[in-house]
Symmetry: C2
Subunit: 235 residues, 2 copies
């Protein structure tokens, strides 16, 4: 059975709903999302294969999830490096950045160099609110993600993919197929085009909210904040 998907519009509505009726704060949701992402990295990248994780963060919530994930990865014993070229003035993101600086996690502006010194990449550039235009400096970053042999875990969406229609037919993301994807709260329609390992995070959704948005709540194991589902989002 394929997991039901959540359109970009409904993903935005669900987020709003979680924060209004659901009474979650953005801090809480981002902490839980980033924690899920860090656990997916742990499952994909055992220490014996490498410890260096390059986290590419975009200017919005997707980037914030990446910042939280990087903090947890540091505490697990990984060596994260952050590429975060368009830093938001938003107070939450500034705090998340400060938390990483206090851990001496390095930030870099040189993506090509950073790519030569990592064992794994987290693509936290664009998420479900991506609307089709890849602005500078991200086109060359996405081309590099497309071309690298280093495994990439995309957060919520491979950056530059259309949330509803999947991989772009032109532009820097044409042909970009990350090794893995973690869908936050629910898979978006783009998973129907995705061919890698697929994880789902968001172990906080109430049954009521899942019913309202017609979502499946998968069976998580033990204390896991993430669950692997098979290719194409099947349970």
């Amino acid at each position: 059975m394929a997991l039901r998907t959540l359109s970009a519009k409904n993903a935005a509505a669900l987020d709003q709903d979680l924060m209004s009726a659901g009474a979650f704060s953005i801090d809480q949701l981002m902490e839980l999302a980033g924690l899920s992402v860090s656990q997916a990295v742990f499952k994909l990248q055992p220490f014996n294969k490498g410890r260096r994780i390059l986290v590419a963060c975009g200017p919005g919530n997707n980037g914030g999830d990446g910042l939280v994930a990087a903090r947890h990865l540091h505490h697990y014993g990984y060596q994260p490096t952050i590429y975060y070229p368009k830093q938001s003035k938003n107070e939450l993101y500034q705090r998340l950045r400060k938390q990483l600086e206090d851990l001496k996690v390095p930030f870099t502006n040189d993506f090509p160099s950073a790519l030569t010194q990592t064992d794994h990449i987290v693509d936290a550039i664009f998420g479900f609110s991506f609307s089709g235009e890849v602005r500078e400096p991200f086109p060359s970053v996405i081309e590099a993600l497309r071309d690298t042999k280093i495994p990439v875990l995309a957060v919520d969406a491979p950056s530059s993919w259309n949330i509803e229609d999947g991989p772009p037919s032109e532009g820097p993301g044409k042909g970009f197929m990350p090794e893995a994807l973690i869908s936050l709260t629910a898979p978006k329609p783009l998973v129907n085009w995705f061919k890698g390992r697929h994880f789902l995070g968001g172990r906080f959704l109430s049954e009521e909210m899942a019913r309202k948005y017609e979502l499946d709540v998968p069976e998580y194991e033990g204390l896991d904040q993430v669950v692997e589902v098979s290719v194409g989002g099947k349970l």
Copy 2:
């Protein structure tokens, strides 16, 4: 080697420091604290011994940690029930309560009855800011915790214990010795009198902050947000 302890005064200072210089929000810290508590319950109370968890919450931050823990326990598959007789008007606690209500987690005002229908208890009544007076309705609750055969996990401190001097020599908490204790961020001096299983949570402390407050950062395993240390807080 005994883990170094953190006085009540320094625990308050560290909390403030995490939120000012450390740039953490209270939402974030409480989410991580409550997650640690839920993981300690999971280690103490496997499903084959029972699923019903009674979470007794006090009016302050300790109670907030209990509310977060209960939410995670629900998602793990436990059946939490909340005793929360002195509910704060604070917006954060109201949101944490709403999140539980949305999961249909029951709240009770009848502690004696709730005690007859649970397999484990979380004592999240008073934490490191407890100052010596057990106010109503908690004296009889603490007596019941002292007398019950059902295992109790205390959060940061067995409620009614003095943070520096340990078990009280009179009052409802005289003779109260929970089965287990989870110290959040660092053990408080009271652990020197504690005789049960002892866990430590707070996998977010920077080395810098640990140095400043002269704390030990233990080795956590894998993705765990909690680590068991031996009796009396020894590593």
